[in-house]
């Protein structure tokens, strides 16, 4: 009970500090002086930290008098999954969201503390406090994590089985949320710039840094989520165009557009209003995504419980878009720059193409996500918009984006000179062609794969050429380290990461082979060139789980695909795939069925199969590991881009 009251009081303190922050900034703006933003942000953080501490103590000590703990923890839950239990259901996830948002708010306010009297900073702080207050309000009233459990239970339900068998659950949600939360900063500054009318100031360019940070966290979060589902869900895939995945992809797409178009504002002073719109859209899409995943209006494989937060979240979405669009309507035309794009094939022209593609992609994904609801409203029937729709659009768009990546970094600003461009493009073009010829010689015939490799080689060439330029310049200055913080280093490393990731996706999805093999004890077989043998069962039984593992060897390496029943919550039974991964290929083995009297193993029993035999699903996916490597390179690149020199440092 004490913990419940500590948690509740701490949340009320945080909410008070955040509302106080808004009021304080309003008063400060009225009297044209600096407010006390830092103190209010600190107060909010102390409150949220108190609530988080109360929740974690309750989880780690298995205090089932908290309803949330009883529903998401059990006495035998290992420490790591007790800690991650905080974000394994709605209320705790919101608590994590609020924690990250207050941290970001405090960091931003501290970073700009010397400019606290600048109205842009004051307005932005007020918006940050306001958004924080909204999410903390959700925790105080409609989705309180601190609810007393009147039943005196001695055992909790334990976390969802899928959330307690892979440590990635400790990093994937926090990174994803850090990304979502990070987009609050450019949104807050966009509103501030529109209100004060100071669009041409450096504030916009400053925002790129924060957006890159959030973008990097979101990208890593998305890739780790794909990795998690690949390792846990047992279908061998990593992306299913599920509403929850789309919810993360939507802001990622508009943020990617923003990161690129802000460069144009930096160099040419164009796209000021457009950039503000993208910042507002990105944040609004994170709120819309939260609505999709938390309101329960969409059917999703992510079994999030539907909550009563739907109307509040959609209302908040409306407030965000409404404020942004209203301010743009009021101010937009006066703030636009007088000049335009000189030549469609100049660098800025290609940035426009980039933006059209990313925003178009976002609209297509949004339509596909909402379409089942629209269809149901009109026809009353249920439809699913699945992979075929999304893939049919994502594939051609990705091809055009790769082509842009191959050309755009080499094109000059303002003008398009074919001779100069060809001079820069020549080496990578010939290399790409040679690669395609070599692939054809090795027997690769699929046009999609050949096109992808050709364009990817070109894109990598463009990135490497730019990086070489940076290195040469750094060498001339005699300081190698300055290359790391050069303006284009981070971005080009991200491009390289995307190229690696794209090749991983194209190759693994084009050349996947799937087979189901039936093996008796001691038998072996060859599946797509992989020597697979089955050496017997291995039973694991402890307080946490009852598991039947199969001892399988793939080309000499031992794998243990399993079917596991977790104690606690409904005795959920999940299959756990085993993966033998190297840089060339992944072999993905699942325990699909067992013959004879297999009831004890929890696996599906197949009739007509002799006892002791098993059915294995074997999937061989070439180059899949490069998807994760590419994702990590993207993360590294965004970190470099965050640390890049400030714009005012560049001149020096």
């Amino acid at each position: 009970m004490t913990l419940i009251w500590i948690g509740r009081v701490a949340l009320v303190v945080a909410l008070g500090a955040l509302v106080g922050g808004v009021v304080d900034q309003a008063v400060a703006l009225r009297h044209r002086r600096a407010g006390h933003a830092l103190w209010f942000a600190l107060g909010a953080l102390v409150g949220i930290l108190g609530a988080v501490a109360a929740m974690e103590v309750a989880l780690v000590t298995h205090n089932f008098s908290l309803a949330y703990v009883a529903a998401n923890n059990a006495t035998f839950t290992p420490l790591l999954y007790s800690i991650t239990g905080m974000w394994s259901a709605l209320e705790g996830s919101l608590l994590l969201w609020s924690l990250l948002l207050t941290l970001v708010t405090l960091f931003v306010i501290y970073y700009y503390r010397r400019e606290a009297s600048d109205p842009v900073v004051a307005w932005a702080s007020a918006v940050l406090f306001g958004v924080g207050a909204f999410f903390t309000y959700l925790l105080v009233v409609p989705a309180s994590p601190f609810v007393h459990n009147p039943a005196h239970v001695l055992q909790g339900a334990g976390p969802n089985a899928l959330l307690q068998n892979n440590p990635l659950v400790a990093v994937h949600p926090p990174l994803l949320y850090a990304g979502f939360v990070g987009f609050t900063v450019p949104f807050a500054f966009a509103i501030a710039m529109l209100v004060t009318g100071r669009v041409q100031d450096r504030w916009q360019l400053e925002q790129r840094r924060w957006t890159v940070l959030a973008w990097g966290a979101l990208s890593l979060g998305i890739v780790l989520g794909a990795w998690w589902s690949y390792q846990v869900l047992g279908w061998g895939g990593f992306w299913g165009w599920d509403p929850v995945e789309n919810a993360a992809l939507l802001p990622w797409l508009t943020a990617t557009a923003y990161i690129h178009s802000v460069i144009v504002q930096d160099r040419r002073g164009l796209f000021r209003v457009w950039n503000l719109s993208l910042a507002i859209a990105t944040f609004s899409l994170t709120v819309l995504g939260t609505f999709f995943t938390r309101s329960g209006v969409l059917q999703s494989v992510h079994a999030f419980s539907s909550s009563t937060l739907g109307p509040l979240l959609i209302g908040f979405f409306f407030v965000c878009v409404g404020a942004g669009a209203g301010l743009l309507a009021w101010r937009g035309d006066r703030l636009r720059s007088a000049v335009g794009v000189d030549h469609p094939l100049s660098r800025e022209g290609l940035f426009v193409a980039n933006n059209v593609l990313f925003v178009g992609f976002a609209i297509v994904v949004l339509l596909g996500t909402v379409f089942p609801l629209l269809y149901q409203a009109v026809n009353g029937a249920q439809v699913t918009v699945g992979t075929p729709y999304f893939a049919s659009i994502a594939a051609p768009l990705s091809v055009v984006l790769l082509a842009l990546m191959a050309v755009a970094p080499l094109v000059s600003w303002r003008s398009a000179d074919a001779g100069v461009l060809w001079g820069r493009l020549r080496t990578s073009a010939w290399f790409a062609l040679a690669l395609v010829v070599a692939l054809v010689a090795f027997g690769v015939r699929r046009p999609t794969v050949l096109v992808a490799y050709f364009l990817a080689a070109g894109a990598a060439g463009a990135a490497l050429r730019t990086l070489r330029g940076v290195l040469v310049a750094a060498h001339r200055r005699g300081r190698w380290t300055s290359a790391l913080r050069a303006p284009s280093t981070g971005g080009m490393v991200v491009h390289l990461g995307i190229v690696i990731l794209a090749l991983g996706i194209v190759t693994s999805t084009s050349y996947t082979t799937r087979a189901e093999v039936t093996l008796a004890h001691g038998q072996s077989t060859v599946v797509s060139g992989q020597y697979v043998s089955f050496a017997g069962f291995h039973e694991v039984k402890d307080a946490l789980e009852t598991s039947t593992e199969l001892v399988v060897s793939v080309g000499g390496d031992q794998l243990r695909p399993a079917v596991t029943t977790y104690n606690g919550r409904n005795g959920q039974t999940v299959g756990t795939p085993a993966i033998d991964s190297n840089l060339l290929r992944d072999v993905y083995v699942t325990f699909d069925a067992v013959g004879g009297n297999g009831a004890t193993s929890g696996a599906q029993v197949q009739n007509g199969l002799p006892a002791g035999s098993v059915v294995l699903g074997v999937t061989v996916e070439p180059l899949l590991a490069w998807l994760w490597i590419g994702g990590l390179v993207v993360g590294l690149g965004s970190a470099l881009s965050f640390l890049r020199r400030r714009y005012n440092e560049e001149a020096a």
Binding site: V153, A157, G315, A325
Partner: protein, 176 residues
Amino acid sequence: MRRTITVASLVVLALCVALTVFLGTRRPVGDATTVQSPLLGKFAPSVEGTELDGGHFDLRDDRGDIVVVDFWASWCGPCVAEAPNLSSFAWRERHDKVKVIGVVFDDSVSAARAFQTHYGSLYPSIVDPNGDIANSYGVTSPPTTFIVDGQGRVAATLLGPASTAQLVGAVNRVRR
């Protein structure tokens, strides 16, 4: 002065109002899914036992009525979500030859009683001390709901927290 941005923003604003109104008026989809069960069409296994309130329940006494058998436990989160729906369903259909019976699954009697009191359940629940009833129905995870028709045959199986509308729909299909 050109007014393109103003016009575009107002268009976006209008679209956003439409989207908000549309999404805001959507109802959450029911979480329960109708599943295929080997019991479908077969005679329902026996449900007999002592109710939490002390009475005695036997499924055979209700032949001719539609009986909704719901397996639940106090420790199960989705059961918490489902409890009010079951209550309102039971209340709504109480004069229409429909009975709702809960079966407490893998739980202590005191916790189940506390749950029933806390959520003001409007339907009785019986105790299944050794999990025999749950075993005979093949229940692995609560909440699982079986609809038993007037002839005593299993007509539908719902997995997960059922909404009132889902229960009404399932029962109406059985009546037809």
